[in-house]
Symmetry: C2
Subunit: 260 residues, 2 copies
């Protein structure tokens, strides 16, 4: 499967899943769900419907490929090419009506993240990369993604989804890093990694991630010139505690602090 | 000036300011600014350029109207009709490349917020209201804005831009409320109030607001069925410590806790 095929097919998956998810976003159904405990959960419904449509497209076109998804688990995950899907990354933003969630579509080749796309269908923007290049298409134009230089932690803008995602030991480590950073932003989910790739943030530190939280984002970050690993410096494809930096020098500095 | 004129003119101001701001958003200029301390600050430049174009339009069309803006202060603010402008509310989101900032355009009539609009030009959405009705236009449609019912704090989703915005005494009070809320979201600036008007959040509690942070949002919240006052229950037009609730019952409950 060539990279051209991969990227065209990822676009198809993004378009199809976006069509399925959008009717659930900012509806009264979502807004009022909390009044109906135990009944219809529209975020889960949107999540499932979108993963179902992507799985079906993959099964029709590439029946030999593996699939790992947030909602329906793994099938043929030992295949050379394996899609890793998170239909709605950022469900809390989704539930609050904020278009800061994204659909994550990743492709592993022999276990390594080879292609990834983040799609925000409400805004209509796509971030994508193959580990060597990364690009963007949005409502006001398109272009290449490049991380920005940031040599030291003292100059770095750091982002993490929530301090609540860390274990006690992880939090102590995170706070040591945060104390030295220039400033910290919370709550951006997959957008934090895309903004790092686009050169607007320098550092993302998270923990407890699943493979589907990070596989699609990895080739975007790497393609834009950034580095993403676990806190112990290993490849990020299996998730866990993750650190991404736009500038490799910053990644090296922070990795030393995290691995301690 | 009829309400039809007001809303058409607010649309013009939004369109003009959006055109001025957008070229500054997500540019390398913004991304790399921190490497150039003391030099060109693109967020301030965008802010000023947008306020300048709105002031000029107002001065040409309605020279007798007052204007209060974040960047260039007040002129004729004692006029019966006075525009209150914040070109970029949410500068930290703007600087991180996240489209969660908004242009706030409000109109005071004899000191009372009579019309307001929040414009997000990157996404292309507008939230607006006149205190009795509120509406929305966006990339996927338009409609009326209505808050959702939420009778008790235990069911409420609460939002605040940052705990750092509170004084020590305010923070203690805020934390008492937060402890009883269902969940809390941080960092949404003007979007929190618009999502409250749209029925996706129940409660926003903030402090240290300026008039231009809240005047434009007030007629949207009120028009959608919500209530917004200071922590002591006064009109919100002068800013300060502000509480907005989608459900008047929730506002009454929380006001009692805040006023203590």
């Amino acid at each position: 499967m060539s990279l051209v095929d991969v990227s065209a097919f990822a676009d198809e998956l993004a378009t199809a899943s976006g069509r399925v998810i959008l009717p659930f976003f900012r509806t009264a159904l979502v807004a009022e769900n909390k009044a109906l405990p135990g009944s219809f959960d529209p975020v889960t419904e949107a999540d499932r419907a979108a993963e179902r449509v992507m799985r079906q497209l993959i099964a029709e076109r590439y029946p030999e490929h593996g699939i790992v998804g947030e909602e329906f688990g793994a099938e043929r995950s030992e295949a050379e090419l394996c899609w890793v899907l998170d239909p709605i990354d950022g469900t809390r933003a989704f539930m609050s009506g904020l278009p800061l969630w994204g659909t994550l579509i990743g492709l592993l080749r022999s276990g390594r993240a080879a292609y990834g796309m983040m799609h925000q269908p409400f805004i209509g923007e796509r971030f994508f990369g193959d580990g060597t290049r990364a690009g963007y298409r949005g409502p006001h134009g398109s272009g290449e993604l490049r991380t920005r230089p940031c040599a030291s932690l003292a100059e770095a803008t750091l982002s993490t989804t929530s301090p609540a995602m860390f274990s006690e030991a992880e939090l102590a480590t995170f706070l040591r890093v945060e104390k030295q950073a220039r400033l910290t932003r919370y709550g951006y989910d997959c957008y934090a990694y895309c903004m790092l790739a686009a050169g607007h943030l320098d550092l993302v530190i998270e923990a407890g991630l699943k493979p589907y939280d990070i596989v699609a984002l990895t080739p975007i970050i790497e393609g834009a010139g950034g580095v993403v690993t676990t806190w112990t410096g290993d490849r990020p494809e299996r998730g866990g505690a993750i650190v991404a930096a736009g500038d490799p020098r910053l990644h090296a500095t922070v990795l030393e602090m995290l691995a301690r």
